[in-house]
């Protein structure tokens, strides 16, 4: 990832039981979607903390997509509702810090919705491409960001 690369890099946090399975199905079904996403599998979107999203942006991600189960069908009952609140708070924080909140989005897909997953990825890539590269990575590349990091997430 570098500032000269015009292709946006999007970190996609996918829950194991739905979104990751949908992404897997999209692959098995040979569905085409832009290769800009870097999938991080999470046991549940409820595991995702606000600082996961913040650190992704700090490390130079142009966008972050959080993909969880459809509302009401979380394997852990309420994980995706927790994630929804955290994503909204993180969007507020990003806006306060001067980044466009549209760079962070949460979507809900079932394990069978590979088409929907591919569509959400296309939408996200389109949104982030319109916004342009993240201003955070203008100054710093990912190695420096990692060096700077202290605290809970290393």
């Amino acid at each position: 990832m570098n500032a000269n690369n015009s292709e946006p890099v999007i970190v996609a946090f996918c829950c194991h039981y739905c979104a990751y399975a949908a992404a897997d199905l999209a692959g098995s079904g040979r569905l085409q979607y832009p290769p800009n996403i870097r999938i991080v599998r999470s046991p549940c979107t409820g595991r995702l903390e606000i600082n996961f999203f913040m650190r992704a942006f700090e490390a130079g991600a142009d966008g972050v997509l959080v993909a969880g189960c459809e509302e009401g069908s979380c394997h852990f009952k309420e994980g995706n509702y927790l994630a929804k609140g955290r994503v909204n708070t993180a969007r507020q924080l990003l806006e306060e810090a001067g980044l466009e909140p549209e760079r962070l989005r949460m979507v809900n897909v079932s394990a069978a919705s590979s088409q929907k997953f591919a569509e959400y990825v296309r939408e996200m890539v389109e949104t982030v491409s319109k916004l342009g590269p993240s201003p955070v990575k203008k100054i710093i590349d990912i190695k420096d960001a990692n060096k700077e990091q202290t605290g809970a997430i290393q």
Binding site: I50, N51, G85, L94, E96, A97, G98, G151
Partner: protein, 222 residues
Amino acid sequence: MIVAERKTIPELVDILRPHKNILVLGCGTCVTVCLSGGEREVSIISSALRIASRVQGLNFKIDELTIERQCDNIFIEQAAETIQKADAVLSTACGAGVQAIAERFPEKPVYAGLNTTFLGILEERGVWTEKCAACGTCVLHKYGGICPITRCAKRMMNGPCGGSREDRCEVRPDRPCAWQLIYKRLKDIKQLERLTEIEPPKNWNSSLSGGPRALIREDHKI
């Protein structure tokens, strides 16, 4: 528990603008429980500040540390070395913690990262409500354990005011009328006769009106 909430990132950026090496110092006690200034929140605030710094070209270098309790010298000692290295400290403790750090490091700028709001409890997940005004003379025994000073918007010692609507406070319709609660509670514990007594005006000397308070326990002094 002391309840506090985060200042906005633009506010913090304005406060910290003159400094480069900044330590965001968290507190592991009340503000951790009310999810505003513990280790996790320190990490979030630091991230947001780093992002703001890069977007606005401010050149902040943010370090993070959380100690068990900022209002206690024993714990502050553990952070002394890191604090000395920083140009300024952004404390995410309550107002007492911020001042304890500032007193301990007289030549170090120490700023509050939170607005300390009240003494309260976690009422339900994500909701904290005020329960105590620390007025210095507790009257809870007279009101069935419900504080009219804190929970009645008009601080009435002889209520109710008559303005409540459907058991809601007329000043804050999102909150229950404290006097409705007091009546119900006294009825439940069969102490309604307490309401026949007229309470004289409260002596506020034991509160902030009497100046900054100190508690001296001779039995614990050395």
